[in-house]
Structure formats: structure tokens, C-alpha cells
Amino acid sequence: MSVYSLRLGLRFLGIVMFCVGVSPSSHSSPLMVNGAGATFPYPIYSKWFSVYEKISPQVVFNYQPTGSGGGLRQLFDETIEFAGSDYFADAKLLAKSKKKYLHFPTVIGAVVLVYSLPGYTEPLKLTPKVLADIYLGKITQWDDKAILKDNPHLQEALTKNKLKDILVVRRAEGSGTTGLFSEYLSRVSEDWNVKVGRGTALHWPVGIGGKGNEGVTFFVHQVPGSLGYVELAFAKTLNLKTAWLQNPKGKFIEPNIKSLTEAALDVGKRVTPELKTDLLLSEENNAYPLSAVTYLVVPQEASPYSKPIQQFLLWMLNEGQKYIEPLHYAPLPEVLLKKVKEQLNQMRTQEPYEPKNS
């Protein structure tokens, strides 16, 4: 082979490599969509995102469970693309940002009271007044008359295992779970409403702070005699016992998928046009009174992330529904699902949108 043809060959190779180098490759890095917020729905969100990543690998959703307060704040600061929140951001909070936001209810969960009373095999029954008094610091011992009234066999277990003080746990940081719990307490106890009130961060009369739903769950799991409030899925993962709360109809209700679904039976009357849904203290016979929806909050205006988010939400409303119940959440009722699908169309997306891996 002559030197001339060798040089020609090399030049040709160089041009080919150059073309390959500058052309868009078929395996470019996926689009990262970042979100943060509520720890309440973290188990189901992380399941959805990991399943969705296998179906649609060109988009990867990343969700950090930092608490509803932090999530909404980051969303308004525009450092993330979507937020998870257990509470509907109120007008004051929304006024802080110039953009408009849409709230999409995703699943129904519940705030449950977890406790550790070794030796007591029956479920703990709590009335709203007793619960409020415990968190107000008025009831400090497990053998208080008010608790024993609904739990007659508790005394034997207490004396046998030397349990006395109620070790109250609450949340340390700004939390939507706290927002839901305090909203419930404010409605059932005038005392609580006046002394403490509602909100995601409160001046708690008693209790020590755990970090996230996980922190509270860990504490109750470790410490006998403790009582805390967490989302149902967290209670189930560590097999903690959940208290039966008395609902407005007077029955003590166990928190499970059935009683959560019951709470949403009359949801038609309890949802605003913006999809703010209130399931607390449902009037249904067997409804769990501390049920709630959790929202995914996204900006309404178009951005490169709008279409991927919209496509994910559409998948979530159809194929994603089957992952909900195994993780101890209740799916949204048909009525609400329809409204969510309608609100999806309000999202403005950027067209044309080219997925990088077609």
C-alpha cells in the first residue's frame, strides 16, 4: 500500500470520527426531573419513579423527602421542578411566587397514631379529646382514667411491664403530616385550637422532635411507652401498632385501606375546583377520621419539564394505580381521578417536544 493511499485512508477515518463525534448520539444522558417534599407519600412515589424509569428511561424523576414545607419553598425558589405536599398551599404562600401552580392529588393516605405498649395485645382505642389532651400535656400517664375508660385491659399490661409515662413524639421540622394532624386536632378540640392551632410547624406544648416520618417511626419502634403520629405506610413497614381513632359517628376505626377508601366516598362534596380535597372527619360510618390526600404540585406554565411531568402523571393515573394498595395507600376514587385527568390538560407544555431517544 502506498503512503498516498494510507494518508487518504487516515483522513477519511478522521472525517468519519469527526462526524460521529458531533452528531447527537442515540444514548445521550436522560432528562433529570427533580422534586422534593413530603415524606408522607415517599414509599409510593419512590416505587412509581423507579418503575417509570424502566418504562421511560429517557426521563428520570428524582424525589427527595425533605418535608412538605421544604418542598414547596424549593419549588417557589425554582430550584426544583415539582414538589410533594400534604397540604394545599394557601393563598399567602402562593402569593410569594409569581407563577401559578397546579395541585394534583395522587393518593389517599392517613395520619395514624403509632405506639409502643409491649404486653398489650388489644388495639389502643383513642377518642379525639384524649388525643388532644395527650398532645397538650394534660394527660401524661398511660394509666390515666380517660385512657383506661376505653381500654379496660390496659392496666394489667402497664403494671406488668412497668410502663407509666406517655413519651410523646412529634415532628422536628416543617411537615405536612404535622399540618394535617394539627388541622384535625384544631377541629376536634377547642383547647388545642386556642393554645396551639394549625400549621406545619408549631409551638408544641410537649414531646420531642423526630426527623421526618422515619425519625418518629424509629423512635416509637425503639422506646416502650412512646406515642407518635406518622403516615400509615411507615407504621406498616416497621410493623408498629396503630391506634383506633373514634370517628364523628362514635365508632373506633382501625386505619386500613378500607377505612381510608370509606373516607373518600363523599369526596364529590369535599373538593374545590382547584382540587383542594379535605377528607378529615368524614361523616361516613366506617371512615377513618384522619385520612387525607397528598398532592404533587407543579408550575402551570410551559417549560422543558412540563411534557415529561404530564406524561408521568397520565401513566400514574392509569397503570400506576395498581402499585398503590400493596404499599398501604388508598387509590383516589373515580370521581376524583376524573377531575385530576381534566386538570392535567390545564398544564401548558412546550411544543414541539422531542424526546431524546425516539
Binding site: 412497668k162 407509666k164 421540622e173 422532635g209
Partner: protein
């Protein structure tokens, strides 16, 4: 000739190597000094936003609730000082006794390994102390110690409250074990230099060994003991990991020492990862206070010890 009598840069040098070498040493010493200034400056810059927007007066309040805009750091100052004082109270008798045992009482076959074991305590990482505290000490306090005090000393309000286990007492106990080697080591030195003539004189006047220890050893060494306690206190004030795991993360000042509280070092460690804006800035203020208080105590006791040794 005393090389240090001349001014720093005009001394006579024996050769060129000395000239360069000593200047390099000076530079390195400056680096160390500048690092301390740099840390102080960095904390000061970090604290400026909250000092400007919220003001020192509101920072010196008792309410810490960043989500609601309250940045009072006094609960942490209380937690730090109280847990360290408890630790000092519990550690000092133990440490002095150990040092006396090693220097005065034990034959060297026992005193050498004994001293070594105590110094081994200083080698254990603080997070291991925290782990042990959380899984061994805290349940013990919750199930045994606190109920004991509540039933037999129910008239003392500072010992009441629900038995969480975690709290100032737990932190104090863990810290006590951690500062024992420090105090013991310094006390050993102090007792070791008790003038022999003083000891013999006291014994000659008819004292027992116990009285001799009281009069001669501790009597002449009490300034050194105070210095040792100061060093132990300085160490306890800055301890982070072990305390964070057993203090209870409760930014409040409560009447009972068994209740959960929070210290300056552990609030920084717990909240810095998720703090932003004014919250982060107020953690900088906490850091500044944390730098100043132990720094002050450290410096003061070092000076105190020097004075004693010179005598």
C-alpha cells in the same frame, strides 16, 4: 548566646541554611495562626445576614423554631453548659481518685497498665461512645436511674419529667467518661511533682497516708486540679457526635435535667444539611458562640496551668 534576645529578622545567623530554615518556620507558624483567624472570619460572614435582619436581641431569646422565624440560641447555650457541667461534676471525683491511685497508692506493676487503660478511653471514637450511649446507657437511665430518682426524690423538681432516657443526664454521663482520661492525665502530672519534702514532713508529723494525700498532694496541687478540670470542660463543651445521639434534639430549656435538650454543637450537626437562608446564618451564630466560649475557657486554663508550673 541566647538566640532569642535579638529581634526576629536581625539576628546573627550561623549560616545561610539557618537563615532560610527559620524564615520557613515563621511562615508555617503564621499559617496556623491565620487559619484560626480565617475560621473566625468565615463564621462571622456566615452570621451577618441573620444579625442584620433579626438582630442580636432576638437571637438571645429562648425560642428556637426556624420554620416560624424564631432564632433564639439560648436553649443551646444552656444545653451545652449544663451537660458539660454535669459531666465535670461526675468525672472530676473519678479522675482525681484514679490519678491519686496511680501516683500514690498503686505499685508500679498495677499503676502502669491502669494508667494505660484510662488513656485508652481517650482513643475510642466519639461516635462509638454515642452508639453505646444510645443502646446501653439510655435504656438504663430510662428504666432504672430516672424512675429511682422520681420515686425517692420526688420533692426535687429538677429530677422529674417523663422518662425518655435521652437528655442532659445521658449526655453528661457519656461526656464524663470521655473527659476522664484528659483530667486524669493532667492530675497525674500535677500529683507527680508534689514536693517530696512536703510529703515527708507531713508524714513525720504523724499523719496517716490519707491525711498526707489530703494535705500534701491535693493541698499543693489544687491549682493544677482546677486547670485539669478546665481542660476537661473545654473538651466537653465542643463534643459533638456522642452528645447528638443522646441529647434528645429538643431546643428548649426545661426544669428537669433528665429531659431532652439540645447543645450548640449538636444543633449545628443535626440541622446544617437542611438549613438555608436565615436558618443557616443563625447556625453560624451558634458556631461563633461555640468558638468563643470554649476558646476562652481553654485559654484561661492554659494560662492558669502555666502559672502553677512556674511556681
Amino acid at each position: 548566646m541566647n538566640l532569642k534576645t535579638h529581634k526576629l529578622f536581625t539576628r546573627p545567623y550561623l549560616n545561610k541554611t539557618d537563615f532560610v530554615f527559620l524564615r520557613i518556620l515563621f511562615l508555617l507558624a503564621c499559617v496556623a495562626f491565620l487559619m484560626i483567624l480565617g475560621i473566625f472570619w468565615f463564621l462571622f460572614e456566615m452570621s451577618l445576614p441573620v444579625l442584620k435582619e433579626v438582630g442580636i436581641v432576638k437571637l438571645l431569646s429562648f425560642q428556637w423554631n426556624p420554620a416560624l422565624g424564631d432564632y433564639g440560641i439560648l436553649p443551646f447555650v444552656y444545653g451545652t453548659l449544663m451537660s458539660s457541667c454535669l459531666a465535670l461534676l461526675m468525672a472530676t471525683p473519678m479522675s482525681i481518685a484514679a490519678a491519686l491511685f496511680i501516683t500514690e497508692i498503686a505499685p508500679s506493676k498495677i499503676s502502669k497498665p491502669f494508667g494505660f487503660l484510662i488513656e485508652l478511653l481517650a482513643a475510642i471514637p466519639s461516635v462509638v461512645y454515642g452508639l453505646w450511649g444510645l443502646f446501653v446507657l439510655v435504656p438504663w437511665i430510662r428504666n432504672v436511674v430516672h424512675p429511682f430518682f422520681k420515686s425517692y426524690f420526688s420533692w426535687i423538681p429538677w429530677l422529674q419529667g417523663p422518662s425518655y432516657g435521652i437528655g442532659l443526664v445521658a449526655a453528661g454521663m457519656v461526656l464524663a467518661i470521655m473527659i476522664t482520661p484528659t483530667i486524669t492525665a493532667i492530675c497525674k502530672e500535677v500529683f507527680g511533682v508534689t514536693p517530696q519534702i512536703l510529703k515527708e514532713g507531713v508524714l513525720a508529723l504523724g499523719s496517716t497516708q490519707a491525711e498526707m494525700i489530703q494535705i500534701a498532694v491535693i493541698g499543693s496541687g489544687h491549682k493544677g486540679i482546677l486547670g485539669a478540670m478546665g481542660m476537661g470542660l473545654a473538651r466537653a463543651l465542643g463534643e459533638t457526635m456522642a452528645v447528638t445521639m443522646v441529647i434528645g434534639n429538643n431546643p428548649e430549656i426545661l426544669s428537669s435535667i433528665f429531659s431532652p435538650h439540645q447543645t450548640m454543637a449538636s444543633v449545628i450537626a443535626s440541622e446544617v444539611t437542611e438549613a438555608h437562608g436565615l436558618h443557616l446564618s443563625s447556625l453560624g451564630v451558634v458556631g461563633l458562640v461555640l468558638l468563643v466560649i470554649p476558646g476562652f475557657i481553654f485559654g484561661f486554663t492554659r494560662y492558669f496551668l502555666q502559672r502553677r508550673k512556674k511556681r
